[in-house]
């Protein structure tokens, strides 16, 4: 690594670089959809961080009288008069022949929805004891805006709690694979020759293993006594392990092509150190591609988590993640009788979409040739 010691050597150059990123920021702001997406993604992460506060109920409170209760509708008109948003309480009826559970509404007792309401006590980040929730029913009675699952647990609350794991899993996984991918792919593509060959063989071997047997073997190797946190961390590593090789290949392919570009040649002729050439000249050259790859990779990991859960190799209850919630939706029962159990899919789709639009905007902004 002959260029490892010269970072920050040239102040003019770093200032030049900074202004380029600022330029990109301005261009990014022009892209309205991307900005909206960034706000949404930010919001999702904000909710995930403070999920205890945003969820109207605790995620594991079961209620036999609300098993498979459908979503409650929010009303504003009661007996012909406008009032603050409210819901009607649900009453369970069981069909004695088919054992189907249906719910009727008790329209005589509207229950108002309040903000910053006192509800189930919790510890924010397991530390700060609190009992306020963003919204809920007045006396802590359960509100089920997205219905309830088999055990009568509030699905919306579970989705909100699940976002904490699902969203961070993708982020951590991508971070790990990005770092590995850039370094290894960069080295491989730039130096070529023997090093490239060895790295390529290594990636080839790693990538050539079909993912499912790899998942099976690794998840079977996870000890049972592990706490959910350790299992979670292990899962991110498993997912990242598969992700980084793809990025490394992209980086290498791009560098292989860019290395032959005139500006790289010129830099080399001018005596610029190799590492500097990679980081200063080549990486910006394919930053756009990298950003697209990364934004596509984060949702890819969120989806991978759901697939792992489907195969029963991933996280398991009582851990709550979107993948775990979707396990409940993987049967004809959910499809035909309790379609609201599928609502985590909507959250998955929205998250993935937003990430993609965000990546799109970033890509356009980073593109040195646009405008």
């Amino acid at each position: 690594m002959n260029g490892a010691d010269n970072t920050g050597q040239v102040p003019e150059e770093s200032r030049y670089l900074a202004s380029q990123w600022r330029l990109m920021w301005w261009r990014f702001l022009d892209h309205r959809l991307a900005v909206v997406s960034m706000v949404v993604v930010g919001l999702l992460y904000f909710i995930a961080i403070f999920c205890e506060f945003f969820a109207p109920a605790a995620p594991n409170i079961r209620n036999a009288t609300r098993s498979f209760a459908p979503p409650q509708r929010i009303h504003i008109i009661h007996e012909g008069r406008l009032r603050r948003p409210f819901v009607y309480p649900q009453i369970q009826n069981v069909n004695p022949e088919t054992l189907a559970r249906t719910y009727s509404q008790d329209t005589s007792k509207p229950q108002s929805i309040h903000f910053l309401v006192k509800g189930a006590p919790y510890r924010l980040w397991r530390l700060i004891p609190m009992d306020r929730h963003l919204f809920g029913l007045a006396d802590g009675r359960p509100l089920r805006l997205l219905g309830a699952d088999r055990l009568g647990r509030d699905l919306l609350s579970r989705i909100i709690y699940g976002s904490r794991i699902s969203l961070s899993l993708g982020l951590v996984g991508v971070a790990v694979s990005l770092i590995l991918g850039i370094i290894i792919g960069g080295i491989s593509g730039y130096y070529g020759g023997m090093i490239d060959n060895l790295i390529q063989r290594f990636i080839e071997i790693l990538r050539s293993f079909p993912t499912i047997p790899l998942w099976l073997a690794l998840s079977a190797a996870m000890p049972a006594t592990w706490s959910p946190v350790r299992v979670y961390f292990c899962m991110t590593l498993i997912i990242a392990l598969i992700g980084w090789t793809g990025l490394a290949r992209v980086v290498r392919g791009k560098i292989l092509a860019l290395r032959e570009e005139d500006y790289a040649l010129a830099a080399r002729v001018a005596g610029v150190k190799e590492f500097t050439i990679i980081m200063r000249h080549l990486v910006p050259g394919f930053a756009s591609h990298l950003i697209v790859s990364v934004t596509l990779a984060i949702p890819g990991m969120i989806l991978a988590e759901t697939s792992l859960s489907f195969l029963r190799l991933g996280l398991r209850p009582p851990t709550i993640s979107w993948g775990v919630l979707l396990q409940d939706a993987q049967n004809i029962n959910a499809l035909a009788l309790y379609p609201w159990l599928m609502s985590p899919i909507v959250f998955v789709i929205v998250t993935v979409l937003m990430f993609n639009f965000l990546g799109d905007g970033l890509r356009d902004a980073a593109d040195p040739y646009s405008h």
Partner: protein, 643 residues
């Protein structure tokens, strides 16, 4: 009654008219040999000279099967769904042809291939008299030689059967099988064997094999050179692999069978087909050779979800296997459209959590052996809520001590410690010195934290995960910290049998356990409540751990039960004694008996309204699959009320 039935059906096709005429003829000459009838396509084959006439194919004294509702009509295809070859059960549930069998109550042993039997030497010698003139599906006579072959050349052959069937080796010594004449089979044991008939009714399929066919693959009858060549042709390295493959009724269409249908299109295939056996040896009271149904077709599916989906869409005629009770509402709501009815019955399997009675962990052991701890676990479970939430009410609370189907069951076994009583649980745990820590969780009496793994056998039904998490929640509510862990199916059992799972969530068989005592007696290492005691018993003390006097009492009581042949009252007392001890001591935490479903298409007839779902009676085998029939004219009729 039959005449009334014919009158009640207004639209009958010509074939049925002919059939009615035949019926009348059959009534006139019930006992004459000429009265036997056969399926139309077999008549054609007889006319072409490809098959001997029906009376030559049937035994002198064919078994007469009383139909569940009425005499059937020939023809039709029984549509079933299967996930893989094992699901077809052409050697077990779909092919229940034992020496003696269960009747439709599932409690009485009645003649099967043997038309009569005698018991000698206080239960050490059993003599069975086979029906004369029985034939394999290829027409070859079925004789006592086939029993001898199974015993000497398969069971006693160490290469083919490394594990001699323990139920045929009482006291550890393999039984003797003798064939004094072609129609007599003698089983001789070294000790009195009072439950042999029950065992035969359960597993009597597996005491005979077609010698005339299989001997060509056996080294005792065929030279080594030929065997080596056959193995090479089959692409395997050992003769025994070829032999084993040839004995599988689920896979080998050449294998002669004694069952209503024989395999014609073997798996793997998108549709595996079994066609009627022209030599089947049973008739209905009118002299019609059974089975009524021409063929059974198993459509291959890759997942249980699809199987249930297809069943919901009405793509099966009679199916209980892998039908998920969680879909009950769905089935009921779609039954009119799909043209089927849904039968719903409590199964013979109890959902339980085993508590290892000899834990390898010396700190945990005294706790698990303390009755108060086990009672606390039982009382902490809210069974009614669990059944409501997990099973939508399709289950009955159970203590895990037998099911009402069992001959030794008494309702009193399900009375104690079954009600939800967290106060009692807490009181008992306090008494045990399991104080609660700051987090509300209890500690072991020695002050160490109590954090245990509940190993879960990955059950087929989707209710598994929620159910065990719920049980763990109940236990956490009384301060006991449990982590639910799902194992791979095979490893789960292995781990338990080695005594490494202290809490294991699985099931117990609650029917005819006296023939298969491992569920309630520490009998072998698959006695999941005390595998190490069980291993001691089955190995004759060579490995495992010597059972404590309490458990030795279970063994001794059972040995006495097994030895008693004549005195039914004494037998009942002994059986009750074993279960009573269980009810008192609470060795496992019984949860519930789930109800099981059968989907029966409206055209599918002679299915009783209640089914005993149990491997022990090989359901639906015990009903008599050969007397089911298909009435095409019934497809358009509205569904009857289920059950």
């Amino acid at each position: 009654m039959r005449a009334r039935r014919v009158r009640s059906r207004k639209a009958r096709d010509a074939r049925v008219l002919v059939y009615a005429a035949l019926l009348a003829a059959a009534l006139a000459f019930t006992h004459a040999a000429a009265a036997y009838q056969e399926a139309p396509q077999l008549t054609d084959l007889v006319a072409e000279g490809k098959l001997p006439p029906v009376e030559k194919r049937l035994p002198e004294n064919p078994a007469i099967v009383e139909p569940v509702n009425q005499i059937g009509i020939y023809g039709g295809t029984w549509r079933k769904l299967a996930m893989g070859a094992l699901d077809m059960q052409l050697s077990s549930r779909m092919a229940y042809e034992p020496l003696v069998r269960w009747d439709r109550t599932g409690r009485r042993v009645v003649p099967g291939l043997a038309e009569s039997w005698e018991i000698h030497d206080e239960g050490k010698t059993y003599v069975f008299h086979l029906r004369k003139g029985l034939r394999w599906s290829d027409g070859h006579p079925f004789t006592s030689e086939d029993f001898l072959f199974r015993h000497e050349d398969i069971h006693l052959n160490k290469t083919l059967t490394p594990v001699f069937p323990s139920w045929l080796a009482i006291g550890g010594t393999p039984c003797d099988v003798m064939a004094p004449d072609p129609y007599t089979v003698v089983f001789q044991f070294t000790q009195p064997y009072g439950v042999f008939l029950e065992y035969l009714a359960f597993r009597g399929n597996f005491v005979y094999s077609p010698k005339h066919y299989l001997k060509q693959f056996h080294p005792r009858y065929t030279d080594e050179e030929t065997l080596v060549r056959r193995a090479k042709e089959a692409g395997v390295d050992l003769w025994q692999r070829v032999f084993s493959q040839r004995t599988l009724p689920n896979e080998n269409p050449e294998l002669p069978v004694m069952t209503p249908w024989k395999l014609t299109v073997p798996p793997p295939a998108s549709r595996t087909i079994a066609e009627r056996n022209p030599y089947y040896w049973k008739v209905d009271p009118a002299g019609n050779q059974l089975p009524y149904i021409d063929r059974v077709v198993f459509t291959d599916v890759q997942s249980k979800e699809i199987l249930n989906f297809k069943a919901m869409a009405g793509e099966v005629d009679f199916q209980a296997r892998r039908i998920d009770s969680a879909n009950y509402t769905l089935f009921m709501e779609n039954r009119k459209q799909g043209g089927y009815r849904v039968l719903r019955d409590p199964g013979a399997v109890i959902v339980v959590v085993y508590i290892n009675q000899y834990s390898r962990d010396p700190e945990l052991r005294p706790l698990l052996q303390d009755k108060r701890f086990r009672i606390a676990l039982s009382a902490a479970v809210n069974r009614d809520e669990l059944i409501d939430l997990i099973y939508s009410g399709l289950a009955q609370p159970s203590r895990g001590v037998g099911t009402p189907h069992d001959p030794y069951y008494l309702p009193e076994f399900d009375e104690k410690y079954i009600d939800y009583d967290p106060a009692l649980a807490n009181q008992l745990l306090d008494e045990l010195g399991m104080a609660r820590g700051r987090n509300g969780l209890r500690r072991l009496p020695n002050g160490k934290p109590f954090r245990q793994i509940m190993n879960v056998y990955p059950s087929e039904t989707g209710t598994g995960a929620d159910q065990w998490q719920l049980v763990a929640d109940y236990w956490r509510e009384v301060g006991l910290d449990f982590v639910v862990k799902f194992d791979a199916a095979s490893l789960s059992v292995m781990q338990v049998c080695n005594g490494n799972s202290d809490f294991w969530a699985y099931a117990a068989s609650g029917l005819h356990w006296a023939a298969d005592p491992l569920w309630y007696v520490p009998w072998q290492s698959s006695s999941y409540f005390a595998p190490l005691y069980g291993r001691y018993q089955s190995s004759g003390g060579k490995s495992g751990v010597k059972p404590s006097p309490e458990f030795q009492r279970l063994i001794d009581t059972y040995l006495e039960l097994r030895a008693s042949v004549g005195d039914k009252e004494r037998k009942r007392q002994l059986g009750h004694a074993i279960l009573r001890q269980w009810a008192e001591e609470c060795y496992t935490v019984g949860i519930c008996i789930p109800e099981l479903l059968a989907i029966v298409s409206n055209r599918f007839k002679n299915v009783p309204n209640h089914i005993i779902h149990s491997y022990q009676v090989m359901s639906p085998g015990y009903i008599g699959v050969e007397q089911f029939y298909i009435d095409e004219s019934d497809t358009a009729q509205p569904a009857e009320a289920g059950g």
